[in-house]
């Protein structure tokens, strides 16, 4: 691989990694506040992809515009799952919580299978294969747009977390739920809101990846794993860590595939994940508690 090819590979890795970061931030946020690892995270993302796909097929709605529909739908779906399924067992043993999210994931992915069939689908927009050249490096337009939208969404999330009452309540609950409750924070509401926001991030990431990916009902499982990798690389519960973790995963995958091992693309991140657990379980970038 020559230098230009390398820069090219890293650049497209960064663009994909940005979207991975968004998936990871949702998982990390949920874990930070609720201490629940959402094993259905990628499956929610697949639901987002299919909503955008269905809107595109039926109404020719541009996938990026369908975010307007997907985001509120995601919040409602997440809040519903939290209230009805997770809240009643929030004091149960950890494995019960994991099993519950595994069950939710199975229900989501297999409902998609029943509705849309196992056949991989893709959408074709006018810009699907368009590229722009920056010097000798060419970048795919859909990935660039996705990356830009990711930056906007993440920046918006930071504003919400640092500048609003809800954001302060979320951060307080993440630091110490009991203390937050004693200060008058409605932690019950905060948890529902956080799960909703996390699901919105995941489903939005699905929409952003739709123009660049094939979508099939079990695509979520792969992304659940990717989200785990991102958050473990960055440190569980750390949002800034998830951003770096996402970018790193994107670059590692892209460079690994560029070196010729396309079939092993998904394995690189998983091996990195196991190595990080071995040598630096608090994450490469964060300092979360283990």
């Amino acid at each position: 691989m020559d230098l230009i090819g390398f820069v090219q590979t890293v650049a497209s890795g960064v663009l994909t990694g940005g979207v991975y970061a968004m998936v990871g931030i949702g998982l990390s946020l949920i874990f930070g506040v609720m201490r629940i690892v959402n094993f259905a995270h990628g499956e929610f993302m697949a639901v987002g992809m299919y909503i955008a796909f269905a809107l595109f097929r039926s109404f020719h709605l541009d996938p990026y515009l369908s975010l307007v529909v997907v985001a509120p739908a995601g919040f409602l779906l997440g809040a519903f799952v939290e209230r009805v399924l997770l809240a009643p067992i929030q004091n149960a043993a950890e494995h019960s919580l994991i099993l519950m999210t595994v069950g939710v994931g199975l229900i989501l992915s297999n409902s998609l299978l029943l509705i849309f069939g196992a056949h991989p689908e893709t959408i074709y927009t006018s810009y699907s294969t368009r590229t722009v050249a920056i010097g000798p490096v060419t970048l795919s337009v859909p990935l660039l747009v996705s990356f830009a939208l990711t930056v906007i969404v993440v920046a918006g999330l930071f504003l919400v977390l640092t500048r609003t009452d809800l954001g302060r309540a979320i951060r307080a609950a993440a630091q110490n739920r009991d203390a937050a409750e004693l200060q008058g924070v409605d932690t019950r509401f905060v948890q529902t809101a956080v799960f909703g926001i996390g699901i919105v991030l995941s489903m939005a990431a699905g929409v952003l990846l739709l123009p660049a990916l094939y979508v099939f009902p079990t695509v979520g499982g792969i992304f659940t794993l990717k989200a785990f990798v991102v958050t473990v690389l960055g440190g569980m519960g750390s949002i800034v860590g998830a951003i770096w973790g996402g970018l790193l995963l994107g670059i590692v995958e892209s460079v690994g595939a560029g070196l010729g091992a396309t079939g092993y693309r998904d394995a690189f991140g998983l091996i990195a994940f196991l190595l990080v657990l071995l040598v630096r379980p608090q994450g490469l970038f964060g300092s979360s508690h283990v």
Binding site: I98, G103, V104, S111, L113, F273, L277
Partner: protein, 335 residues
């Protein structure tokens, strides 16, 4: 009031374990007649004893130690592949079996060492990753594994003059494995190691304060579970006689084992085996209805069980049964 309120004497405990051992032997003896009673449903019989054994093995680490593994298919697959590939290389069968077990125990030791040091969901997270890495490698390393087209196990030499492709032989091998798995669970239920596991599951800090080494105890349980599962994997490979990475490393397979345990009751001796019976009978009875929907229904069952019967269906049924027919307050001499 309840039994737990009165202290259990050592002699009583021994007596109870002896009764349980007798019950298991009786159940195995009854099952041994299965091929004569239902000779036409042998496929079901083999998968019943095999999955009952696998679920019981899963429960050693998942139920007793409370470490949720969502990747036990890794051992099924690694066991089946190691056995098959060595068998195709004309390695003697006992050596191939031994190698399959050794490979799985080694994998469990490394994987457990990495994740058991950490608190929280890391073990469960890593479990999916381990099975997935193995699946990807088996899929891509075609020169060794045959890749996505799979590998076949066609000409096995007879074992003690018995044809290994005879479903009856496979049934009795599976039954033997189930017996070993149940006996291991019985051992765990009453031994010091079992109490250590339960103590760690309930409160790791207190267990450590009392001198239990969580890493070591969990590792031993995990390696035992892996060894039993790899034997099951070898038998599964023989039973299928043709398999592919997608089938033996699938998350579905891991989930199925978990589900059998939670339906039957995690951390009980016979619960996982009963769960296997319930689930497989259900699958068999509603095969036409299920088809592609089986995983959807699994998901619904998991959600309902976790929400409404966290100690498993057998726990639920037992409590209902005891409410209807309260325990006669037995003195040790009465039984």
């Amino acid at each position: 009031m309840s039994e737990a309120a009165t202290p259990v004497l050592r002699s009583q405990r021994v007596q109870r374990r002896a009764r349980a051992a007798l019950g298991i032997c009786a159940a195995i003896a009854v099952l041994a007649f299965y091929p004569f009673i239902l000779p036409r449903a042998l496929n079901f019989g083999v998968s019943l004893v095999l999955f009952a054994a696998l679920a019981t093995a899963w429960d050693l680490i998942g139920g007793w130690a409370g470490q949720l593994s969502l990747g036990h298919a890794a051992f099924v697959g690694l066991g089946a592949y190691t056995f098959t590939l060595l068998q195709r290389a004309q390695v003697p069968m006992w050596l191939a079996l031994l190698a399959a077990v050794a490979a799985c125990v080694l994998l469990a030791a490394v994987w457990g060492f990495i994740t058991f040091r950490l608190r929280g969901a890391y073990f469960a997270l890593a479990s999916i990753a381990v099975a997935e890495v193995l699946r990807i490698v088996s899929n891509n390393w075609s020169s060794l594994t045959g890749g996505p087209e799979g590998v076949s196990l066609q000409d096995l030499p007879p074992l003690f003059g018995l044809d290994l492709y005879d479903r009856r032989v496979e049934f009795y091998l599976g039954l033997a494995l189930l017996f070993v798995a149940l006996m291991s669970a019985l051992y765990v239920a009453g031994s010091r190691a079992g109490f250590y596991l339960e103590a760690i599951r309930e409160d790791q800090d207190s267990a450590m304060a009392l001198g239990v080494n969580p890493l070591r105890v969990k590792l031993v349980a995990f390696c035992a579970s892996a060894a039993l599962t790899s034997l099951g994997g070898c038998l599964y490979g023989i039973y299928l006689s043709f398999f592919e990475p997608q089938g033996v490393y699938a998350l579905d397979l891991s989930i199925q084992l978990v589900l059998m345990s939670i339906v039957g009751g995690m951390g009980t001796i016979t619960g996982p085996a009963l769960g296997a019976l319930v689930l497989l009978a259900f699958q068999e009875g509603f095969r036409n209805l299920l088809q592609q929907r089986s995983l959807l229904i699994y998901g619904i069952v998991i959600v309902l069980v976790v929400r409404y019967a966290p100690d498993g269906l057998s726990g639920r049924v037992l409590r209902l049964y005891r409410r209807l027919w309260p325990w006669p307050s037995r003195s040790p001499s009465a039984s």
